[in-house]
Amino acid sequence: MLTKLAFRNLMRRPVQSTISVLALAVGLTLTVFMINFQVGMWDVIVNTSVKAISGHIVVQGEGFQESQDADLLVAESTAIADELRRVAPDAVVLRRTTMAGLLQSPNNNVGVGISGVEPDAEAQVNSIADRVIEGTWLLPEDTKHLVIGTKLARKLDVELGDKVVLMVGVNGDYESKPLRVRGIFETGSRQIDGFLVMVPLATMQGMLPTIDDPASQVSVLLDGRTEHRALIGPARAALAERPVEVLSWEEAMPDLKKSREMDISFAFVIWPVMALVVSIGVLNTLLMSLFERTRELGVMLAVGMKPRDLFKLLLMEGFILGMVGAGLGLIGGLLLTWPAATMGFTMPGMEDAAPVSNVAFDGVFYANFEPLWDIGWALFFVFLSTVVSAYPAWQAATTDPVTSMRQQ
């Protein structure tokens, strides 16, 4: 009967109760949608960065993470890749070299970042392969060609098939190699399109003759179902005898991890404040209702209701408002998330927004359905709505029945 009484009490002021419920619902709708979108956006950023930069697990020259010295290469990279395939049979294992250099055309010289990749494997994970707008992507054994971005092509004033000379500094000396432009890509990122040169790994290895089968890194890319942290230990054990370091993507790209954590942590400040603000509506509704019911609450106490039961009644009213508002808000948030999760959300200008270099975003982000978080936020709204109702509930419970019954 207390539940029934709580419901009916809320329906005494239907407009006020409806406004409170709607405020909670709208607040939770926005919270759920924004959290789902934020988590989804970061998943896109992390996945793209992981694919383009480090993999979920990266093997690199010992001391590279601290020194970032491009000369710290791993030797016998094919053997390392085979070891890693034994540790993670379902993973894509990639070898890459990443170096700075100079690209010369008859018309200009431009400082560039050079990425030596295994063309077929790289094409599986790096979207740049799909963004070649003129010519074609690299071929594995074709050590005579490279691909560059549109902006770099303009700077050098070169077209498909034109000859350029790639220069790389190795241990104080310069190695140079003439190549032709096989493809021109466009990512939308000024940094990538104007700076990045991609060549087959074999080309780069040919320019680094002093090391056996060199690579800057060997990366392991896992499908979404495999927890990469579980494979770090076995990978380290398998490569324990080699002068390499085995890192998770979080260790290899700490800035990316930190940016993600900070951004998501910020949500845990913003949205609770929003929840608190809309909960004030619940408080207001209950206080108004309390003011109107002073005499009635006095009668309830007089006929034998215990103050704590009266406290529970008012708390239940806040809880009901919270439950209805949170239920509607959860539905609203999921409905709003749906198109953003299935069709994506275009955010122009995000191409250069990556917290790590040389990662191209296409500007389309997807929301994630995060059921645990969504339900957690809904429960938080219910909790807050119930907690704020503790004040009017306490006021009611400490009412003196004789004084209350004198109220008109």
Partner: protein, 227 residues
């Protein structure tokens, strides 16, 4: 057997920097089955005495026992239990819960007692029938006349079979005909079911029906007449 025993009850209030002596040493026993009325002019202490007996207020001095329990020995929760289980209340302004039907208002105190839903529904229906409201169980207070609302208040007060019903000016808001019907109803409940009633009233009709009239003046009993 005394249902209520008041020994030397004193009640002083602080009001605007002076002390109001609402009761100045009242001694009173109410026996089981009485149909008694407290009368007196405004400010004589009728409602104060009723509130003390009902455990809604505490005396400045003196002792009050209800149904064998000394109120001064009770913690607030125990007072609530005593009011719920042993005392029925009828107030001047009906004071029903407006969002509950007649049936639910009658069940309310039974619900507080923890009586199961089926038993309390049956009890409430029987009690409403006893006060002449059969067929009106599902009406809200706003759908009932003043007399009918006060009958629901009577039903709520007696549904728990209390040791005593305290009625504070129960007929004050009623017309003569309704008033007479309500007094007849309460007298009938008193005579047929042995329910003890103690009224605070100015109403001549109640004073006429009462078996005992206790006259208060300036916080003291001026006369106590058994008819």
């Amino acid at each position: 057997m005394s249902i209520v025993s008041v020994q030397g009850a004193v009640r002083h209030y602080e009001q605007s920097n002076h002390v109001v002596k609402a009761l100045r040493g009242v001694n009173l026993n109410i026996e089981s089955g009485e149909f008694s009325a407290l009368m007196g002019p405004s400010g004589s202490g009728k409602t104060t005495l009723l509130n003390l007996i009902g455990g809604l207020d505490t005396p400045t001095a003196g002792a009050i026992t209800v149904d064998g329990t000394a109120l001064s020995s009770l913690a607030p929760d125990q007072r609530s239990d005593l009011r719920r289980d042993r005392i029925g209340f009828i107030f001047q302004a009906y004071n029903l819960i407006p969002v509950l039907t007649a049936q639910e208002n009658t069940e309310f105190v039974l619900m507080l007692q923890g009586v199961d839903a089926a038993t309390r529904a049956k009890k409430a229906r029987e009690t409403l029938a006893a006060v002449g409201l059969a067929g009106m169980e599902d009406r809200l207070p706003s759908e009932l006349s003043g007399g009918q609302q006060q009958r629901v208040a009577v039903a709520r007060a007696i549904a728990t079979e209390p040791a005593i019903v305290l009625a504070d000016e129960p007929t004050a808001n009623l017309d003569s005909e309704t008033k007479a019907e309500l007094i007849a109803l309460m007298r009938k409940l008193n005579q047929e079911q042995g329910i003890t009633f103690l009224f605070s009233t100015h109403d001549d009709a109640i004073l006429e029906a009462a078996t005992r009239v206790i006259r208060l003046k300036d916080g003291m009993i001026e006369a106590d007449v058994l008819k």
